[in-house]
């Protein structure tokens, strides 16, 4: 496979995967157990989810490591197994990819406010992200994928940590815009784009988000601020609502809706497109048909 950066530059658009957690729940992940803690004993369902996305047309899959920092893992008593869990998750993803899809090392937020708003210092955050990034890179990811960030400082810390662990690793970075067009910490798409430009990550954009419209607005603003940067759009499958009879949450965007937005994202400079919460292989298949 060609290097992910040259694919990013020369196309075609990279189709990314969709939601992991909800798919694992359907496959038996017990309520309250973290996917990262579960995968050590249950590699097959995780591999199956990756494979389902690849079969649907994904060219890039995210390792099951969204909550793979020490800070998140310690809730399950797994803080001392950061390296092992992240390595294993990447191995599973690479087995599924079998050289036919890129494996992105997923890094999610710490779930803590950084100082001065919270007790966690910037330096501590850098260290925690570096630890995870080191394990992901050692295990052979094609790119580090920092996502669902709201705080500019936490994003900076994650990028600094990634660079500290692996100075030459490619980095993709996305924020979640879910409140009045900004992140819940108040970061504007333009401000996000300018910061990420200055930090020279390889691609950036928006994931998760409140609605498809809001993610589209954010991508448009980022494109305006950084017209030459390959952008990423990995939105939720619309908005969640409750299916009272089934007693489950359903997301309201159909695969065709996601495909329609995927076309718009491409027009706005997106070169990596996938799904986040509520998306499944049907959504990804529709996106793949729309953009390739």
């Amino acid at each position: 496979m060609e290097d992910i950066l040259s694919r990013l530059k020369n196309g075609p658009v990279i189709v990314a995967d969709g939601a992991m957690g909800t798919m694992l729940q359907a496959a038996g992940l017990p309520t309250g157990m973290s996917p990262e803690g579960w995968l050590l004993e249950n590699p097959k369902p995780v591999r199956d989810v990756h494979q389902a996305y690849i079969e649907a047309g994904a060219n890039m899959i995210l390792s099951c490591t969204f909550g793979g920092t020490r800070v998140r893992l310690e809730h399950g008593g797994l803080a001392e197994r950061v390296s092992e869990i992240n390595r294993r998750a990447v191995e599973i993803a690479r087995e599924a990819a079998a050289g036919s899809a890129y494996v992105a090392g997923d890094i999610g937020p710490l779930g803590q406010l950084l100082a001065p708003l919270g007790r966690f210092t910037y330096e501590q955050a850098v260290e925690v992200f570096a630890e995870q990034a080191r394990a992901l890179v050692d295990a052979g990811v094609d790119v580090l994928y920092i996502e669902t960030m709201s705080d500019l400082n936490e994003m900076r810390a994650a990028i600094q940590g990634a660079r500290q662990a692996a100075p030459r690793a490619s980095i993709f970075a996305t924020f979640s815009f879910d409140r009045h067009g900004r992140t819940n910490m108040g970061v504007h798409p333009k401000q996000a784009a300018e910061t990420l430009l200055s930090l020279r990550v390889d691609a950036f954009g928006a994931n998760c988000g409140a609605t498809l419209e809001m993610t589209e607005g954010a991508v448009a603003e980022m494109h305006e601020a950084a017209p030459h940067t390959p952008l990423i759009a990995k939105p939720n499958a619309g908005k969640p609502h409750m299916d009272i009879e089934q007693r489950e949450v359903v997301y309201d965007a159909a695969p065709e809706d996601m495909a329609e937005y995927a076309r718009r994202f491409v027009a706005l400079g997106a070169r990596v497109i996938g799904g986040c919460c509520g998306s499944n292989p049907a959504h990804i298949a529709a996106i793949a048909r729309a953009v390739t």
């Binding site: 957690g21 909800t22 729940q25 309520t31 309250g32 157990m33 998140r72 809730h75 779930g111 803590q112 406010l113 708003l117 709201s150 409140r179 009045h180 067009g181 900004r182 992140t183 819940n184 910490m185 108040g186 969640p240 609502h241 409750m242 009272i244 007693r247 489950e248 949450v249």
Partner: protein, 214 residues
């Protein structure tokens, strides 16, 4: 309203903790009663903060900073209240926590911060809280309200278990239940028999006030 109180309200709104503390002290020196400081400067200031959050001028950092400024002022006012054998009017007692199996913390803590700032007594049980812990805390604190946060489509199902546990313990009549968290919503609140749903920390304060009629 005195100039000092106007300034105090303003520094709470913009989240300047040091200045808030200083101005609260000045207000006391000017012989303004501590309760007056709270009711005329701090409370209306926090209401304006809530309004600004609601309309998208303010975001999480602004809420946190404003609440910190309010707390800083209270550090000066609390001893003054004690000295006068007065108490800040407590609007109600609220037990909050993130449901068992869920470790999302930021939203729930923000709800606690805003409820405290609004004048509620808040008992924050933290994250990954089993239903029995909510029940125990309600019994111990004689709370009027239970707030349950869930950020995952799976863990939200456990919100119902808290309500059932409150019923089994014979406490359901004495407490109002409010839920929140990204995948939840008003329909879900209705389905599981919660009394209210709040989309964010500011709304949580509004809903809890409504539930208790305060």
């Amino acid at each position: 309203m005195s100039e000092i109180l106007k300034q105090l309200q303003e520094v709470v709104i913009v989240g300047e903790a040091d200045q808030a503390q200083e101005l609260a002290a000045q207000a006391l020196e000017a012989d303004i009663a501590p309760l007056t400081v709270i009711e005329d400067a701090l409370n209306p200031g926090m209401e304006i903060v809530g309004d600004r959050y609601e309309c998208g001028d303010y975001f999480i950092p602004d809420l946190v900073m404003a609440a910190e400024a309010m707390k800083a002022a209270m550090r000066v006012l609390d001893p003054a209240l004690t000295a006068r054998q007065e108490q800040r009017h407590v609007l109600g007692t609220v037990v909050i926590g993130t449901i068992e199996g869920d470790i999302h913390e930021i939203g729930k803590s923000l709800v606690g911060t805003m409820l405290s700032a609004a004048g509620f007594q808040v008992h924050d049980l933290g994250v990954d809280v089993p239903p029995v812990e909510f029940v125990k805390q309600v019994q111990e604190t004689e709370a009027n309200v239970v707030g349950i946060s869930a950020l995952l489509t799976t863990t939200m199902l456990n919100q119902e278990a808290v309500i059932e546990a409150l019923e089994e313990a014979g406490l359901r009549e004495q407490v109002k239940v409010i839920i929140g968290g990204a995948p939840t919503g008003p329909e879900w609140a209705q389905t599981i028999g919660a009394d209210a749903y709040a989309e964010n920390a500011n709304e949580a304060v509004e809903r809890v006030k409504e539930l208790l009629g305060v």
